[in-house]
Symmetry: C2
């Protein structure tokens, strides 16, 4: 017998039309380079997005063609998110924090035909223009200045286009909509290509009540760059449910974000831990120096991911009425694969236990299967102790990389013929299914045959009142193989001796053999292109 259900392909175009009809009165706010705010309605955005689709088709876009974007978080980037796929193209977000060489290599690897670039980023574009010849460069006049004559003007293209006459490109649900390159800490960056299907499924799973919990009453502030794993997919969720958006534009300093939160208070914000670390420090300083300058939106949820979140950071925000929601994922996982949420089973657990859980990576989202595989290739038990590499599979997990043969070090089959992605992250899983990231495979410190988690040491150090930031890397040791080196940045005017920090770690339950052998004072932990702590740069600063 056969099911009688309609054969309707999953499609981003459906989200676009929903927003334009059901939610047309809701607002999209963008902060411009001069810090003023530009506001439009979802209804206007819907017309502009269809106009973009129409303009791209008129420029000769063919199904599957890549259109690169090089831009900050703003309404026009959101137009690209939907307008490019609506026309049949694939949006390829270029990471503006990469070097010109990397950008040129990536644009060439993706064979990008067109580029949509913020005018304020033209200087960066000019540095890699010689490495890849885009057929058409479309400049979004983000600053309001006239577009240089040698480029196409984004606003002029939209003004000439016909949103009413626009016809969506036909597509199947497995057709591509977007691509994003991994940061590629080893080897060349690799492209992940998302489909209508994977994006719609990810959006539904990520929006669930215990995950993002996206509601009509929300106002979302995406600090996570739109060039970083699709801003974790939030733009798709906001459009699906017509949720008002506040885009920070290029202004990502803690003071700028706090200012913006006063003007347009969000109920939901998202960003990497380092953003929130800087923000809470600026906020707490201001409480002492200029009380009344800012007020954190009460009850705001902050989605934090992309790196482990220290428990001390979660507690600090909780003191100020903000709920940190931690998730785990990567470009390859669309990205949301796990979320930590308050499980009913822990209702009677104490506050300490609840914060301990909140500092974990959380529970696998629906549609995601997750397992840990030990060094010896065995599937680890869910005992909260046994460490193993996280492997994942599911309909919004990548099964290969663009233009690269599938290799055993990234993908592995099981005895049922199912494919798993090897994430390179090492973790434990406990009885309730809580995933706790202990390290990146390559960041674990192997001391005398035992593993020491650099992440655990860092989180404990950042709970010390004098410490602003901490990162731990391995240094070579004749006797033990590797030993931990702790790089510590202190808060302004504060300090702590290695002995005091070690005493603090012993109090936090570390064994003596796990304590760092050396402490190194630094100004700040260097950052990756996506704003995470860069252990690669630290290792270059402090070679083994």
């Amino acid at each position: 017998m056969q099911a009688t259900m309609m054969d309707v392909p999953l499609s981003l175009n459906h989200f676009l039309d929903r927003a334009g009809t059901l939610f047309k009165h809701n607002r999209i706010v963008s902060r411009l380079p001069d810090k003023s705010l530009r506001t439009m309605s979802y209804g206007q955005w819907h017309r502009r997005t269809r106009a973009l689709g129409s303009a791209l088709q008129r420029l000769g876009l063919r199904p599957g063609d890549r259109v690169a974007t090089l831009g900050w978080n703003h309404h026009a980037h959101l137009e690209a998110y939907f307008g490019i796929p609506a026309a049949g193209g694939v949006m390829h977000t270029l990471n503006l924090r990469l070097s010109p060489d990397e950008l040129g290599w990536i644009a060439a690897d993706a064979q990008d035909r067109f580029l949509i670039v913020d005018d304020v980023l033209l200087p960066l574009y000019r540095q890699f223009a010689h490495l890849h010849a885009f057929e058409q460069v479309i400049v979004f006049p983000f600053s309001g200045a006239p577009v240089p004559a040698e480029f196409a003007d984004y606003e002029a293209l939209l003004a000439e286009a016909d949103p009413d006459g626009f016809v969506y490109a036909e597509h199947g649900e497995n057709d591509p909509v977007a691509m994003c390159y991994t940061s590629g800490t080893t080897g060349r960056p690799k492209g992940v290509v998302y489909s209508h299907r994977s994006t719609v499924l990810h959006t539904l799973a990520a929006s669930l009540a215990d995950h993002w919990g996206l509601r009509s009453s929300d106002v979302v502030l995406p600090v996570t760059p739109m060039f970083h794993a699709n801003s974790w997919g939030m733009p798709y969720g906001a459009v699906m449910l017509g949720v008002p958006l506040v885009f920070p534009g290029p202004h990502l300093h803690p003071e700028d974000l706090l200012d913006l939160m006063q003007l347009e208070p969000p109920t939901l914000a998202l960003g990497v831990p380092t953003i929130w670390l800087g923000l809470i420090q600026a906020y707490e300083r201001a409480l002492e120096t200029t009380p009344g300058r800012w007020r954190l939106p009460q009850g705001m949820r902050s989605l934090v991911g992309g790196a482990a979140v220290p428990e001390s950071l979660i507690r600090a925000f909780a003191r100020h009425g903000v709920i940190i929601v931690q998730g785990w994922g990567m470009t390859e996982t669309s990205p949301l694969a796990t979320v930590s949420y308050p499980r009913a089973e822990l209702r009677d657990a104490g506050e300490d236990e609840r914060f301990r859980r909140a500092a974990m990576a959380g529970i696998a989202a629906p549609l995601i299967e997750l397992r840990l595989v030990t060094d010896e290739g065995r599937v680890a038990p869910w005992d909260g102790q046994t460490m193993g590499e996280i492997q994942v599979r599911g309909p919004f997990i990548t099964g290969s990389y663009h233009g690269v043969p599938r290799s055993e070090d990234k993908f592995i089959g099981d005895d049922r013929g199912q494919l798993w992605l090897r994430t390179g992250d090492v973790a434990t899983l406990d009885d309730l299914g809580f995933l706790r990231i202990t390290d990146r495979t390559k960041d674990l410190i192997k001391s005398g045959g035992e593993w020491i988690s650099s992440v655990d040491l860092e989180n404990a150090l950042m709970a010390h009142p004098a410490v602003a930031e901490a990162a731990v890397i391995a240094i070579a040791d004749e006797k033990w193989g590797e030993r931990p080196l702790a790089c510590v940045a202190f808060k302004p005017g504060q300090n702590a001796a290695p002995d005091a920090l070690n005493a603090h770690l012993l109090q936090h339950g570390f064994a003596k053999w796990q304590l760092p052998d050396r402490y190194q004072t630094i100004d700040a932990v260097p950052r990756t292109s996506t704003g995470k702590f860069s252990k690669l740069k630290l290792r270059q600063m402090f070679p083994r």
Copy 2:
């Protein structure tokens, strides 16, 4: 270019294994025929469900074979929901409120091979056993009595089965998992067959924060029968997220439900309006006669659907701290197609406006497209005025009926070649996309070329303090064609004259020509097999 995402089919088996691993400590409570409670964990349920799958395979179940169920809401029915598809079968829920003739006809039409039946329903089974020969009848000893020797014993089958060695039947995502027959007010009942894909997509969309808002902290009481549109899909959502369940068994009287709510307080309950109408009346009576006997769970959400919900009912529950959430759908739509939720755009609207919106059918869920088509075949504007038949499409909407050629009166194509389901419900859509059901096509009263909505009259009449229930049907009229007849059941010891009721309707904004020509006092509105008001039976009582 091709997307790089994994090809992983959507599957109910994934939900089943999630519940058994991530949520194994959570509880499933069932009320037994003797009103005692049986509690098991999701971990135990997972083993029993796999044991059922294994037992069915051993009995010779082949992929696509139908296994009928005839049962109340309890854990074993939930085992059938997942165990039958896990073994490759199709669960076919038989509606125990139908006549034996109808049941026999439906079982034969579906070619059910096996039947799983509650022991307390064997008398009903015996009345239609001669109409369809099931190969195997498996009796669930719900009452605890020994199973008659001529039948297979459900518990014995499970005890002999091997849950650990069970291997899921291979399937594609479009393979069938369940079937349900429409109530069929005209002509024979027709079968709708759901797939893994449609069920998973419906579960994700229905669980969203503004819809069911299913959370780990919820406790769900499904009063909606599991044989009625899959209990609106809630069993799938609860299993996906491991949410504790409280099943009422056969005890659906208001007093029984209120008793159960004291023992196992739910945060989320679901049922048709007549259930909640009876419940609030019993509750308010008890407040006067036996105060302190019951307390409604504060903050509980009640999902109500299957028929229009009077605003007076929503207000009555709100007075007692319970939030009524209205949705609209039908067996053909999986069923949730729209939900009414508080839109941010209405934040500053007054309480009256919010209650008015809460009494509407609500907003189309993601993945659902919705349009109204007028009598003249034109797509109606979203003006809150123009009435048209609701037509829907989407990946969890049926595109045909089992074994019946697709007919123009149920399915219609548009000029883009897209298929739409004709629902037979008539509604308006307003600027914000709120759907307001005005009637079933066949229940509209056509008076002098104008339509009068029977639903609007009923809801206004039920807001009168003396009225317990009201239903309006058309009677023939020489001059006008049709005129309204109002059938009214008064609250105990209360009454109101036709003139008083008409004055009440005029106050509620009805025009004089819309007022009922006749009032008929009845004891109660007769019910359909799914507990809704039966206008068919009323028409038989009061022929035109």
